[in-house]
Symmetry: D3
Subunit: 132 residues, 6 copies
Amino acid sequence: MFSVGVSDHVMIAHSFADPTFGPAQRLHGATYSIEIEVRASSLNVHHVVMDIGAMRTLLRRVCEGLDYSNLDEHPAFPNRTSTTERVAEHVAGELARLFGELPTDARATKGATLRVTMRESPVAFASFERPL
Amino acid sequence: MFSVGVSDHVMIAHSFADPTFGPAQRLHGATYSIEIEVRASSLNVHHVVMDIGAMRTLLRRVCEGLDYSNLDEHPAFPNRTSTTERVAEHVAGELARLFGELPTDARATKGATLRVTMRESPVAFASFERPL
Amino acid sequence: MFSVGVSDHVMIAHSFADPTFGPAQRLHGATYSIEIEVRASSLNVHHVVMDIGAMRTLLRRVCEGLDYSNLDEHPAFPNRTSTTERVAEHVAGELARLFGELPTDARATKGATLRVTMRESPVAFASFERPL
Amino acid sequence: MFSVGVSDHVMIAHSFADPTFGPAQRLHGATYSIEIEVRASSLNVHHVVMDIGAMRTLLRRVCEGLDYSNLDEHPAFPNRTSTTERVAEHVAGELARLFGELPTDARATKGATLRVTMRESPVAFASFERPL
Amino acid sequence: MFSVGVSDHVMIAHSFADPTFGPAQRLHGATYSIEIEVRASSLNVHHVVMDIGAMRTLLRRVCEGLDYSNLDEHPAFPNRTSTTERVAEHVAGELARLFGELPTDARATKGATLRVTMRESPVAFASFERPL
Amino acid sequence: MFSVGVSDHVMIAHSFADPTFGPAQRLHGATYSIEIEVRASSLNVHHVVMDIGAMRTLLRRVCEGLDYSNLDEHPAFPNRTSTTERVAEHVAGELARLFGELPTDARATKGATLRVTMRESPVAFASFERPL
């Protein structure tokens, strides 16, 4: 099994409606360091899982939809539910869509999976993994 | 598949009885950076795998049973067998017990697993993974 | 010259009024990893620059004045001027005040300086340094 | 499931023949930080997956076959195909061979797997995983 | 004293003519993680040492003069003398020139200094510091 | 001003006699990640501050005097006073002595200084700086 990964980051504001989150119900924010990993059982014709340059470009495009914004107003997270898990799931969905638009020879081989890991602080992270 | 993780650290002394460990048979010590990760196929009612705050609190409680101690005298590691793998297994067992005492809505969904990774130096780590 | 340092982090929302900051004029946020360092030419009676435990406790107290908040509403940063440099200066001022209230034997020796470094992303940081 | 890992690094030159890699067709180079991980369902008689010291020694030996070299001239990567994925696959193969020569009591238990992860920059990595 | 820093990286090939460098006389390469820091005694009119965005853009421009190249052929390092110290000195010189072309209100205040730190591996770095 | 640095680590046991250290009066331990930095105003004849290979070799030699030991029994730290600051001072003294035995062309130029930084956990470090 092969994998390849790249990283980027976004800086967002948000708050949570659910009282379970205590002080995080207040408007605050986070720098999310985002690492994405694509896993595949074989390499494509270019001897890679996917091209790192293409991955970085598409990850940046997804990041631009979140960067310098208030997630409380983002349609993907209704009712102030932008937990790190939900943001990772959203990023994975957007990436899977963009990866699907790549030319065939730039894609990962059949059966590949995508994992998005988001570090919100030196002591906490969440991730989401799905098929491509 | 979702996951969430938090980290903490402990500072311990220990030594190994087994001659295979060479100089590590002498009394020495380690700072263990501990990262725990819970994986689950779905999120709970709070849109998270588990609450990060609860995870950090319970990990700290488990750390307190090890921090500033000599593992050669700890009942979990008889005959000076506190290899990093065994310490990770011990931490995972303690955490699984504490997680099981949480209110239902604070737990990870059915089928979740727990991984404990312990970094003992910039160049070495060990981990243990088990069901919750 | 000796130094000692500890770290912590806060998660805040903010925005900038100054058009020079482009997209950062929008409400967004940051996780600030904060590392503080105290430098002194000699050690105190306990063979340390300052006690690490006391430093961590007081840094946490200062962090609590910022954590999970919107800096646009914080009196220390009027007119939405909470640049990382200004936040570092603020944290240093608060810490210097708290360090000054410590018992004499817990303080750094005469002439010590304090540096506060704040990492806002994997690729950017700012710091402020002042006498204690 | 247990795992244990160690790390090292190599500094190499290379270039790619495939036009898909753009500027990386030019002769350039990389520092590869290499982390290897062995996973096994049980520990061996020494209460470890494998001895960290043995792992570091053998990883260094494999590194010596790459360090301070131009991979364009290395027989394992014909036609300038030393993508990070292919280098990880090569390192894993070399390590599996050396691990197989260890005395029985120094090996991982039956069914163990090996993962080799190579970080080529702060924002990119690739890995390869195989049975031992 | 204030400071601000940003980082980037380049991937280069090179070799050394001087026999003192042993195996590094062979053609090899490196990923240089580059962190630049500007220090100034006061902030400019925008409440920053310098704008992080401008710093990242100009650092990238300097990196483009090195990235994916063989430093043995670069005019700044005659006779294969591209030690990490010399590369840091070169990057600092290029940056100082570009910073000097910025509009006055985008520059650091009078007396500012620039430090360029280049990490070539997890265990080694070099830096160069100069006035701006 | 130029600088060059290398790193290594040691794993030690120790305890403190001074009641100010609370739970750290108990026998415990630490992994110290050690980073040393030599600063000089000019480069030597080899276009470096000092050779990284020589620095790593000598740092390892100093580490061997501490690694896998109990600092409570080390003559450099009488009465259980092995604070991180004192260990850094000791390492710096040993290194300065060894650096002084190097051939002239392998040394840093006149006026160089040495800084030893020891990270004892993800959240704490101490350092000592002295002339060479």
